[in-house]
């Protein structure tokens, strides 16, 4: 059994006088012990809300609804009481946030913030705690840790602050670490160092890591399994290699297209649509990506695409996925039904005969083209 099993997680924010926002819509994924799992998607697709829901950290506002399951080591994190949740946080599951400066208390020295965790979960106090804190800072690569312990967050550089936060998160050797865009607020050179550090830490300690990012480059370097999110749903799940080699969901294809190193020849671009959330759809229901999708067909609209499981453990939500190499693009549209290369990959019902004509939208090209 996996260490963390997120099943059908949904989060809705209902506010009086405002539209109800379904930020997370039936997200399922799992994380095995020691595994590095990526949650990838662009801004607003529900990555942070997913992680906060798992941690039980969503703001307790009226109108908030969380459903589904997040089973960690046999206990559903969404069902347990506050007390046990507080015990689990920081000890078994820890989190790293995007902005290291605002995530540290500005008027409390770093040392106190680190020892606080040690006191809370490991019962360490005084000298012993200070010593352990210095060791932790040393472990995350902060030079001269004894002096740094006495300093305030604003005296540290951005990278060093994130290292301090990482030190706090790994202080109790949690079994699961959730990192929500841990490098977005940092300089590029520092980003690489922080990723390297995270990679080393989880490898050494066997901690599982959920890596949340909008940057496929980050994922490429470290994740074992990748979940691509769009509009609050997981639209594609695959191991790293197959995903990068043969992305199936058009959104993944687009994301990869914007990473120049990979796939340079294709050069596909997403034309950004403001908002990009589900409730902007001009029709009642269907694939959330349809307005931006260049592989859209009639069947995409009407009801949300089912999750398609392929024989090799991949899955995607798309009725007209990108073709696998070996098939010419034109063929794929018509004959995506189990071809020689992909036994059982696509359900037949999803494949239309005709290229799409969607009312109210410019005609979408049914094949990938390189301009």
């Amino acid at each position: 059994m996996a260490l963390l099993d997120v099943e059908d997680l949904s989060v809705t924010f209902a506010r009086r006088g405002q539209r109800t926002v379904r930020a997370v819509d039936g997200v399922s994924f799992s994380v095995n012990a020691g595994e590095v799992v990526g949650l990838v998607g662009e801004s607003g697709c529900g990555k942070s809300v997913t992680s906060l829901a798992i941690m039980g950290l969503l703001p307790k506002q009226p109108g908030l609804q969380v459903s589904g399951k997040a089973v960690f080591d046999g206990t559903d994190l969404l069902q347990i009481d506050d007390r046990s949740r507080r015990d689990i946080r920081g000890r078994d599951v820890a989190m790293i946030f995007q902005d290291p400066l605002s995530s540290l208390n500005p008027v409390v020295p770093i040392g106190l913030q680190v020892t606080e965790v040690l006191t809370r979960h490991r019962g360490m106090r005084g000298e012993a705690a200070a010593k352990e804190a210095a060791q932790l800072l040393d472990r995350v690569g902060i030079p001269d840790p004894k002096r740094r312990l006495k300093e305030y967050p604003h005296q540290l550089s951005g990278g060093m602050r994130q290292r301090a936060l990482i030190a706090m998160a790994v202080a109790c050797q949690p079994r699961l670490l959730i990192a929500d865009e841990p490098t977005t607020a940092l300089d590029v050179t520092i980003q690489a160092q922080i990723l390297e550090l995270l990679k080393d830490l989880v490898q050494d300690s066997g901690t599982a890591l959920v890596m949340i990012t909008h940057d496929l480059g980050v994922v490429a370097g470290m994740c074992d399994t990748i979940n691509v999110l769009y509009g609050g749903r997981v639209v594609e799940t695959a191991r790293r290699r197959p995903l990068f080699r043969q992305p199936r969901h058009p959104y993944t294809v687009g994301l990869l297209g914007s990473v120049p190193r990979l796939d340079a020849g294709r050069g596909e671009r997403l034309n950004p649509i403001p908002g990009s959330v589900r409730d902007l759809l001009p029709w009642p229901d269907g694939c959330a990506f349809a307005p931006r999708c260049d592989r859209r067909v009639d069947a995409c609209i009407g009801e949300p695409p089912e999750l398609v499981l392929t024989h090799d453990g991949r899955s995607y939500r798309c009725v007209n996925p990108a073709p696998l190499p070996g098939l010419t693009p034109g063929d794929e549209v018509r004959t995506a039904v189990p071809g020689p290369a992909t036994p059982g990959s696509v359900p037949a019902q999803a494949v239309p005969d005709e290229p799409p004509a969607v009312p109210g939208l410019a005609a979408a090209p049914s094949e990938e083209e390189t301009p």
Binding site: M95, F97, N105, P106, L112, V117, E151, Y152
Partner: protein, 320 residues
Amino acid sequence: MTTIGGKKREKIDRLAELAARDEERGVSLWQDAFRRLRRNPAAIIGAVILTIFVLVALIGPFLVPYGPTDTMGIREGLIKPGVIPGSSSEHWFGYDHQGRDVFSRMIVGARQTLLVGVVATLIGLAVGVLIGGVAGAAAGLGGRWGRWVDSTLMRFIDMLLALPSLLLAVSIAALLGPSLTTVMIAVGMVSVPVFARLLRGSMIAQSNSDYVLAATSLGVRKSKIAVAHVLPNSLAPVIVQATLTLATAIIEAAALSFLGLGNPDSATPEWGVMLADAQQYLGIRPELAIYPAVAIIITALGFTLLGESMREALDPKLRK
């Protein structure tokens, strides 16, 4: 210079900040704010005024030329009905209606004024921080109990706040009977609702901050977060407010003395009492009212200038 765009200027500022970073090591947040204060002319002016005021209040009484209660003018027969001698080289500010040296009385009065202002503010600060802190922590803890404690305390504070402050001070002073302690308590109580509301609001705002979320994600208990994280971060505006309150406290204390609710013992001169005494002689010696009035205004201005500059220096939006 004007051609430098905002972005560019920001970059330059950032660079300057980075360059300054090395020497900044070991410097606390407050010292950081202090450096910014030093560059603000308003803060300098306020600080100079207050330094002079505090020096006068502390050592002035030992240096005064005449005893503040010495009615020498009457002894020497200089005070007659309708005649009060004005300033001279011996008596810079002249005599008051009882023939006492006004200059000496002004200086000794500074100590009284400072004492009343500081003690009153400390009283207000202590009670206000207690009420506001409990309410803010209770609001942060949430739950039915937390909300109940918070709203009960705040209902009480709102009640106090609804009354005009001078009216409240006069009522309290009248209730306790005229004395110096009365003035301190009355003026202090008037500032309680401001401190309480400010601290509570500041704590609630801080509760939504990222570092609270981060601490929560590490399993730190709510009560610990309220005391160790939220409270220290919420104090800055309260401390700034204390400086500003010193200004109003001095004015309010003078007003209470003016209304006869202050120290009935004229052995300890006080600016408000002097102002009240001068009333009847405005026709002969208007200066007698002007000296204490100007002194009160300048002192209050000093506290206000410094308080406002501190607010700016500590503003998290201007910080960084």
